[in-house]
Symmetry: C2
Subunit: 389 residues, 2 copies
């Protein structure tokens, strides 16, 4: 755990992207596919470095088992696509959505795949696109499978993204005091992170930058997926729960802490300790070969035994990558082994109405023999009772 990994801020090389494509094609061979079609902007960004928002004009990547991938885009996006794409690809444009008869996106799409081909499609592909897809279709999420195991380049980018998140969390703990407004805090924290991103990566792509820095004050921290109101105020005591999420030029990470302003209510001490211990238990299990559902089961069993089983609202963790939430999942029902170069969060939580929420989360790399914590923020109670005078 003492080896340092170097942060990377440069864009991916052609070799990096062709390596990703080759890993995908290995899976296409396993499933006997002639083509794989991607509509998900995250998957297309992963393979091409081109980021876009999904709107009514479709963007479709068609990957034949051999030869160049083909990208179908609206004419309007040609310059934008060519500027950002960093792999070899045949670009095809359609005029507009909608367009005159014979000039619509689906007219061109029909020509890209033979009628008798075997074609893999994503489970997230819209049925309206699937229905226009030629060939015999098989729903299979093989790009997501490839994305689960990170390359050294992706890990270097993630190390950098974690530095941005760490900075955000430092600012958050420094500025979070009783009576401070959620909105003011949000602005300070996201400005600090965004400034670091654009300084470190002057050519960063706006479309894959997203920063969030929010605190759930004690009155709502028991409800982790509520959305704090803009003018809600920080409060003395706690538990407050922070969320820092950052998508840093395409690399998503998170760091979250349970903390207290000035003092900790007596009733909060035990659940805080149980949360910390549940977290330690999860960390002790982290190494290649361990079944992810087993980690969740053991963590839940421990929290249950401590008397807080009714206050669990979510799984122990999830994968991180281009998005902040993706496979793999540290959850019952996900019976797969941890492998080196997976990125996950570890965040067992306890949520008690009229008292508050208890959760720490970090961005974790699974290594050959264990794990490495890539985010950094105070963890122990003594460092998380913030003096307010």
């Amino acid at each position: 755990m003492s080896i340092k990994i170097k942060a990377i801020t440069s864009p991916p090389s052609r070799e990096e992207l062709s390596n990703r494509l080759e890993r995908l094609r290995t899976k296409m061979i396993e499933q006997d596919l002639d083509y794989y079609v991607s509509f998900d902007p995250v998957n297309i960004y992963y393979l091409t470095n081109f980021a876009f928002y999904v709107h009514e004009r479709p963007f479709i990547l068609v990957i034949p088992i051999e030869g160049l991938p083909r990208m179908l885009i609206p004419l309007l996006e040609k310059g934008h696509f060519e500027e950002r794409v960093r792999c070899d690809v045949d670009t095809m444009t359609y005029y507009e959505f909608p367009a005159r008869e014979g000039e619509n996106w689906f007219d061109h799409y029909q020509e890209l795949i033979e009628k008798d081909a075997k074609v893999g499609v994503e489970s997230m592909m819209p049925v309206g696109i699937v229905n226009k897809t030629p060939g015999y279709q098989l729903v299979t999420d093989i790009i997501e499978e490839v994305r689960i195991i990170k390359t050294d380049y992706e890990i270097g980018r993630t190390v950098h993204a974690c530095k941005v998140a760490n900075k955000g969390h430092r600012v958050l703990l420094k500025k979070c005091r009783p009576k401070v407004l959620e909105f003011a805090l949000y602005k300070e924290v996201t400005d600090a992170m965004t400034s670091k991103i654009v300084q470190d990566i002057p050519n960063a792509n706006f479309k894959v930058i997203d920063t969030m820095g929010i605190v759930w004050p004690p009155s709502i921290s028991y409800d982790p997926h509520s959305v704090p109101h803009i003018f809600s105020e920080m409060e003395e005591g706690g538990p407050h729960v922070s969320i820092i999420q950052a998508q840093v030029d395409g690399y998503g990470v998170e760091v979250e802490r349970t903390f207290f302003l000035g003092n900790i209510p007596e009733k909060a001490k035990k659940p805080f300790e149980v949360m910390l211990n549940a977290r330690s238990l999860a960390y002790d299990l982290l190494k290649p070969g361990v079944i992810m559902s087993e980690i969740d089961k053991k963590v839940r069993k421990f929290i249950n035994a401590q008397g807080y089983g009714d206050f669990i609202l979510h799984r122990t963790g999830h994968g991180l990558g281009i998005t902040g939430h993706e496979a793999p999942f540290i959850a019952e029902g996900y019976d797969r082994e941890l492998e080196p170069n997976m990125l996950i969060s570890i965040e067992p939580g306890i949520y008690i109405p009229n008292l508050g929420g208890f959760r720490h989360s970090d961005t974790i790399l699974i290594t050959e023999d264990g794990y490495m914590k890539l985010t950094k923020a105070p963890e122990e109670l003594e460092d998380l009772i913030i003096p307010i005078q």
Copy 2:
């Protein structure tokens, strides 16, 4: 065009939402559907006032032809959902994604619809969700059909959103000077808009607020869907093209202008004038009963006749609503009549490599006898050559 419409900033009433549901049910009857299922967060927000991001945990709204709609959500979102929902609905939760056998989202989903029912689904519904949907499925976008015609309440909200956009554009023109960085401009403009939003709507929902204020400087304005670089600089002369887009607590609008800093290059005068005239031509055609594709065809014909036909990259306009880009479309291939209470953009554009882009856009309401422009910014050349000293 002289009647003023009052801006609305309050959340929708139950009557507003039940009116939307009844209009949807009229379309369900026309298509003989027993159920309609919505997965699109925009459609679910439209019917319930609950906003969320799509991630691996599905949110599904099941609307039976009679009785309460049923909303299937992850347990984690229950408090959040109940706080924001403003219609009567049966809420059902599943534990997690993934979950133990028998406790997954699809186990609950199966119970919400009978096996022999006729079920409408959105064309954007992921095939992985469609494949778990019981009954006989028909792909039909009837919520989008309902959304095309705005209610008085939606129009009032849009009038307010346009005030936010107008403010953003005033700040943009005030701050845009040669050498100013894109990033600095972006921050000033979006901060001004966000501040107005949270002041006007203290209970606004973060998840449906989005503001953008960017300028395409002359060196890239010929490429309208490129993404300006963070550190690109504003330049003397022009054409610069501004884009202000705002989603104001759920209501999306836009205003865009072609402008010049200090002076206008001689070569830019003619295309600017052609763009203005193409725009006037489109406006002259705006009234209920006119076929939208005809407007696009006439505008294109006019630009062609002026010698700029090769520099058209997109349709004349698109609909606005919860999103900034939605049906209806002022485009060849969209052979439908304009109707009162549609909201559209009018934005014919000309894009000339080595010279720049020429486009104004506004948010327009179609009225009983014509149209009303809801956004406001300078339009004529003399007001769009901004003095720089």
